[in-house]
Amino acid sequence: MIFWEIAKRNIRIHMLRSTLAMLGIVIGVVAIASMGILGNSLVATVSESLSSVGDSVTVSPYSGGGGGMGGGGSGTSVNLKLSDQNFQQIKRAVAPNVAIPVLSTSERMKVGVGTDDIVATIYGVDPQYIPDLKLVLTAGDYNNGNSGCLVGFTFAKDHNIKVGSRISIGSDGEKGTLRVTGIIEERGMSFDLSTDNAIVATQDWFDNTYNRNDYDQIIVKVKEGQDTADVKTLIEKQLNKREKIVSVMDSKATLATIYSTFGTVTTFVTAIGGISMVVAGVSIFNIMMMSVSERIKEIGIMRSIGTQKKEVMSMFIYEAAILGVIGSIAGGILSIVAGYLISALMLGSTKYLITMANALSVGEGICFGIVVCLACGIYPAWQAANLNPIDALRHE
């Protein structure tokens, strides 16, 4: 159609002006899409580091309020421990799901002779529950005996620990020695045990060493097909009947909150990118208004020889559409490059670049760019179409 051809040629003869306007759109699309890519990659990276996702409910002593605790009285706001009676109540309440009592402490230790003291977390877990915690070993085995222990991947890597290594616990080894029987695979941030920088010893060793008969937390592994929220409710009903003595964390709900927060952050940074698109839109509007004011006489001639208003309008809409489509597609391509660079620099990894979410972000950026261009072209086009042909013909 001739109006499409005229729109193309007008862009071509004003190449510099058109290119600058398109550059604005390119920047806008890159800002929006690359921020989307960054947000998506961030979520994907965090998701990967969250192991044992969505199948845990963690019960810990309630630390708020400052009042005493019931349920056997062994857990208080000062002591902040869970009693064996608490454990038995939880175990009964959540059956057939598995309740795992966990002890933990932060302790000084030494690996090898002549090395500096290090501080790490020691968990005490009954070996029968190790398979339920899904601790995958990269070396060694679970059968660690009373003075055997498993160590986390990062801990082992940082301190050059291998199966068979010995770790002296306490400032001068006064709490004895643990022998490493297995290395736990990297788990990342976890809702149950964060083992990467920790040691997992037996509950018996822990009880004997620290003279403990209570627990720091109880982890409930929820079986497939059951809802973590229901398990949380059961525990709260059982233990927090009269007063709140335990805090119950539902991993699925926590995960949802984390994703929702990331979603909000992604939307926020994308909206900041959107500001550049608004600026680009103003530039397109300006270019289109210039295009109309330069061609008033031409519009008058067109109208006088029989061009309909809608045809004049279409000519300017085509012009805005060409600027929008070319600028947005170029921006979409560049945003993949920008997303790659940002992911590489900020997240240290580009493995989440090619995902459906990122494709959607780029698609959204391109669509938004085109829509902004068309929207900014509508008023100038309408103005051109509604010029009085007589006035337009007289225009110099």
Partner: protein, 225 residues
Amino acid sequence: MNEQPVMVFKDVVKVYPLPSGDVTALDEISFQVERGEFISVMGPSGSGKSTLLNLMGCLDTPTSGDIYISGTRTGDMSDKDLTYLRRDRIGFIFQYFNLFPLLNIIENVTFPMMLKSQKSVDPEKGKEVLRSVQLDDSLFTHTPTEISGGQQQRVSIARALINDPDILLCDEPTGNLDSKTGAGIMDLMSELNRKGTTIIMVTHDSHIAEYSRRTIRIADGRIVQ
């Protein structure tokens, strides 16, 4: 053969309301144009020539009175229908040629055809019309800025003729040309008129008006002769 007048003005009044008071540009103008006529409209500046031309070209509507183009009363027509009327029944020739600088000669000439057919058109008819206004084939793919004023006016005439209009409306067609080129253009228009094209030409050049067979003189918004 259709013996209906191609244009009839009946008691046409055009008043421009201005803050300083209404200005009557045309005052009860009545005339008719028969098919095949060559009429020049003459008058001093401010006499109402341009207003008359705008009304004849359906670019404006009268305050009162009736205008008929090929039997169709234009007063009640919508903007859309008036636009179709301009496209199909009227050919415009302007003093400053008013070709589209972004289009080449063939595209300029076939532009009204494309408006009518709503699709791309066979350029052969455009070439035929361009040849009929004595434009050389070698110029067909040039842009308007690459050809002379006289050639541009020939292209403008070809564009006006492309949809076989009932009337050619010319606004000072030689006003921007030297006398020799202007004479060439007027010879061409006389030739077109001899072949049956109805022409109404607004001019204030009496030599140019001599090419026409009838002259309508207006002064102060009224026909004086």
